[in-house]
Symmetry: D2
Subunit: 405 residues, 4 copies
Amino acid sequence: MTDQINRVVLAYSGGLDTSVILRWLQDTYACEVVTFTADLGQGEELEPAREKALLMGIKPEHVFIDDLREEFVRDYVYPMMRANALYEGLYLLGTSIARPLIAKRQIEIAAQVNADAVAHGATGKGNDQVRFELGYYALNPDIKVIAPWREWDLTSRTKLIEYAESRQIPIPRDKRGEAPFSTDANLLHTSSEGKVLEDPWDEVPDYVFSRTVNPEDAPDTPEVITIDFERGDAVAVNGEGLSPASLLARLNDLGRTHGIGRLDLVENRFVGMKSRGMYETPGGTILHAAHRAIEQLTLDRGAAHLKDELAPRYAELVYNGFWFSPEREMLQAAIDASQDKVTGTVRLKLYKGGVHVTGRRSPHSLYSEKVVTFEDDQGAYDQRDAAGFIKLNALRLRLLGRRDR
Amino acid sequence: MTDQINRVVLAYSGGLDTSVILRWLQDTYACEVVTFTADLGQGEELEPAREKALLMGIKPEHVFIDDLREEFVRDYVYPMMRANALYEGLYLLGTSIARPLIAKRQIEIAAQVNADAVAHGATGKGNDQVRFELGYYALNPDIKVIAPWREWDLTSRTKLIEYAESRQIPIPRDKRGEAPFSTDANLLHTSSEGKVLEDPWDEVPDYVFSRTVNPEDAPDTPEVITIDFERGDAVAVNGEGLSPASLLARLNDLGRTHGIGRLDLVENRFVGMKSRGMYETPGGTILHAAHRAIEQLTLDRGAAHLKDELAPRYAELVYNGFWFSPEREMLQAAIDASQDKVTGTVRLKLYKGGVHVTGRRSPHSLYSEKVVTFEDDQGAYDQRDAAGFIKLNALRLRLLGRRDR
Amino acid sequence: MTDQINRVVLAYSGGLDTSVILRWLQDTYACEVVTFTADLGQGEELEPAREKALLMGIKPEHVFIDDLREEFVRDYVYPMMRANALYEGLYLLGTSIARPLIAKRQIEIAAQVNADAVAHGATGKGNDQVRFELGYYALNPDIKVIAPWREWDLTSRTKLIEYAESRQIPIPRDKRGEAPFSTDANLLHTSSEGKVLEDPWDEVPDYVFSRTVNPEDAPDTPEVITIDFERGDAVAVNGEGLSPASLLARLNDLGRTHGIGRLDLVENRFVGMKSRGMYETPGGTILHAAHRAIEQLTLDRGAAHLKDELAPRYAELVYNGFWFSPEREMLQAAIDASQDKVTGTVRLKLYKGGVHVTGRRSPHSLYSEKVVTFEDDQGAYDQRDAAGFIKLNALRLRLLGRRDR
Amino acid sequence: MTDQINRVVLAYSGGLDTSVILRWLQDTYACEVVTFTADLGQGEELEPAREKALLMGIKPEHVFIDDLREEFVRDYVYPMMRANALYEGLYLLGTSIARPLIAKRQIEIAAQVNADAVAHGATGKGNDQVRFELGYYALNPDIKVIAPWREWDLTSRTKLIEYAESRQIPIPRDKRGEAPFSTDANLLHTSSEGKVLEDPWDEVPDYVFSRTVNPEDAPDTPEVITIDFERGDAVAVNGEGLSPASLLARLNDLGRTHGIGRLDLVENRFVGMKSRGMYETPGGTILHAAHRAIEQLTLDRGAAHLKDELAPRYAELVYNGFWFSPEREMLQAAIDASQDKVTGTVRLKLYKGGVHVTGRRSPHSLYSEKVVTFEDDQGAYDQRDAAGFIKLNALRLRLLGRRDR
């Protein structure tokens, strides 16, 4: 805290916590604060954030509000979807994938306004602090980073509220008490964790969900949709071409209606502890299933299996905050090199929380009815070849068997 | 075919195809045939197979009928479940995992009756021929293998029926025509492929499913169950201790009722082509979800992530038929070394085709509310540690950033 | 053999064996033979191959002799060197890497002369048949492939000589008897195997080596050289800029003199057996050591470790003949994405069979004396950060320790 | 530093630095110090450490001096050698592998003397602090750890010497000035780093080496030796059965004489920076080569390739200090499961810095001259099998080729 800070770019949501941080930065560092508020599809009005920032003395030219939805989906969500990345086999990485983009914009703004520091509102126990800060440092090794939650003494809700009151920061009525859980939202997902979710044996209460209907309340009739892919990326729903963000929003609507994409997970944080979270990833869950389905038809086995072996590592890197790292970029290069012909259409049935692939077709299909058929294949495949194939695959096992018996 | 065969152990189902094979072996090799029929939970009467074999001249002491259900689940399905193995991200390997056990018993019987050969009824295009034969050769490098479908000229249904008629082999009425698809079943799953399933764009017709109700016809009320695990293996359902096979059967009933475990997949066969299959794995799908859930609580991150990276390789080995191989055994050793504390209870909700984990608890839980809590953790975790953690993780990225800008 | 062949492109060395094959193809298939002889740096005159081909009735316009040395090193050896590929930890893949290029040229010539088949002289027990034919099929799925050694009945040296005599094929005096071992050579290496090498306990006799002096006979004075790299590829030796093939030739000379690059290996062939080979890879051994050294300075840890984990897979693919496969191309994309800054100079000492790196420098070095120094680093690194780093890395182990004691 | 410490177990070498630490602990924490000095084969007298400790007021029953050489080699070096572990492709992990054993003994002694803390003399920039402390925490999650170099203000040599003088700590004449480099030694290796080694372009000066003669000064005549292995571990040299530590010592003598095992490396530390080190691992280098050679003969390809893919991860874990982690133990389980038949004899030639395998034999050899021979194999291998093998391996590439042209 001894470092002299002149100007800091704060990732600012406009909510109580980051408003307290804004004031605390002004108080503690006697520095100029630049606010950055991103629309990543979290579904909140952003203009109130501008008003609040201005009220707290931020210069108009230092209030940055950006709609990053298309960039978010196109340059972060889509590349990750190409990888079929699932953290610990299940989690679609909705929070993780948003952090690098926020970090990148903060660093860009810092360059633009000549700021020497950046700040974020993530706590000291979570993964997000790591993701933000690895992003900051990777993009500007000399930037100063302020993480108020790790520095200040506002260690309880009561102290935070007192601080807000003492600084005339408006406190929404529902923020006075402890929230029963904490959330993060963007176009890809909403996550919830903490408090009522902390016992991993307790069922997640209904009121925690905000992005999906309960499968039991979803329509009794399935809905069948199609998704078109081009070179690994979804480009149309039900035949209608859509931009990345619009497409994901469309799938979110469909997923919400049908109760798709809820996940109750106990996961391993990078900082070394286990936590329990509830994720809702309606559109992403559909997209993931559809991408796997179109790859089934268009990816060669060698490419598909290599992807499957690389995917856990890729997911771990994204989860841990290493988006801007050489190894993530190397894996992305390998993955992207496989997607050139991942083009075609997948048909899915959405029903009561489930996504069921019911068909897929592609102009670049590697599936050959002629070869696979149970009927006469007219010489496309010579069954006698299998004898030699098996014999040579067995040779080492036979030599082994002879030795070991 | 020039090899002299004295006695051959045939994997015999009692159906038309293997009955034709039985006779063809007698005709072609002038050898004695020993039949082996296994109960792997496929849900068929086995005594008719005995009668048929006797009718076709097999000596009573050469008709082997074994109930292998417990061995199958305990020694094959359960070890595989410990690995969370999914072939190509989705397939629970129901057919693949049964083949090594059948191969093993054939080789054991061959030793017992002093046979010099084994035979199976798998075709020359599929994976099962590979799985059977790699198993045979691994367990007895000098065994002779007869694969009639790769050798004979009964290359059409018509020729097969003609052959059967000419040898007085009884032909069930429904076997005269071409079946609309082909199936394989055991306690873990039923697979269907071929014919009506050959166009991967066409939806799987309703009549293909035999092990699960259509999710749309499943009960409108969810059913909540618990599964208890001990050292990685499921041991009880709803608190009732069950043997491996009984437990899987119980989960199959539950899965059937709720329409769980249907999978429409285009997969890559080891022999080099893509095929489209429909799998129904009701109990296995529940078990897989539950095992992942109990691991979430009881496996350390290092163990969990290593398992996730090894799982695709493990699944590929099982799929390709390398169960009896040093590398599968090495992976199993690694996996089993992680399961010692994978003990506890998982609660799941079954509903309309979906399996939803809603809670998990364990006497060996690594989840620490004390550490993770949003509330005051009384020093269990020092948030300032995170600063150093991030700084050193960032160091290489900063050095990189300095170099590259 | 029932296929009608009109015109076949034969990989033709001009030696006795491929001359017999040439005639056998004419005799057996009554087809036109096109010969293709490549200069890959094997160190043999190629014009005699032309004369022989003409003598055997090949049309002048059907005799192809290409100098492929630059293409070989630039497009095959160099990409592989970027991967630090070592098969089974030791083998620099000298034979494996040449086969795809030969296959590619054969397929190109086949298209040019409108041939419907290709043929090679590799035996049925080795890896080369696989490498050639996987290359052929990948580049032209409809090409017919003739592998005389798997087809004909010239199964002993005596029969081969008799066939040659009966067809007036000139037989060099030293080819009448059995060669004491068999070799393959190109600019990267010479391999020797068979006969006198078949007992893996017997030391390789001195007369087997052809590319390197015995380390014991090498100069008593070390020779110090430098190699310059640009973007992962060697571009100069001792400051002198050289094309890829010239550079490798230069390093071969140096390696030969100093007895560098001999390897006595028992390896696992793709076809399932173990074989024992002696490899001499003088220049390649130097290049491999130098590339690793320049990467030490210029690759980030994340990139370096990912490369190390991918390298065995990459090597296996090259060894097994899957150069033209999506998975090799994906790995190459990942590897190449890491090489952008692999630029600089390595100094090496060559002495009595050893290659010793003694220094490396780079304009893109990531090594920071300022950070690493034992002396005062003026704040480049805060040692207290290490405490937090260790604490959070230890957290999961502590939770584990608490549970398990 | 606010924690109250009653008794601390210090890893004590008897040298100046750890003597200063000893006194500093007494001064700073007013606690009782227990010294632990291990003989890991570093080649120093240990009794002077006892005398010094007593002189500094340590109770006789609190001075622990253990000969851990056999345990070190048997339980740490040998398991690691089974893995063929090389960090970053080259480094035999000589320092890394010693730390867990020291940590384990410190924790054991702490339990025995009822100490509440442990301390070590590693600096805040290196890997060793991480290795020690991860070991401590894994084995006793509640232990307090004191790392003086990260805490005190003796940040220069001058201050350290002043502190020593002010406390009457004897200062060896050669320790007054700055050492030109820093070393660590045990039975496996000696490492040197810092100061004169800090410029990675500068050749390592001759006086840095202590464990090996310069290859140029090694005997002009090669020495041929044999090493016998049983189940993956070396058990005899030149036919003489030796305990693990004695065997490694014997190989060290041989390696020293012949100038074997010098390595000049720029490596990536876990704490995020690059460092340059010189390692001398004479016996370990011979052992590594020999173990690979006996595996060539006795390991199946599947096991061998899986080991090669796991080895970089294993090495990284050992390097980073995760010896006592579930994932290292899982990998060890996999590796050990492969070593059952790794028994036999390897012959090596040692000459002027080089280790050259010249032969290997085993009662469990998988090498079959009968199968591999160029001569008539009497049906051990049917070359026609290769045709089918290739055809089916090529099938996916052909389907791909058809699609993509």
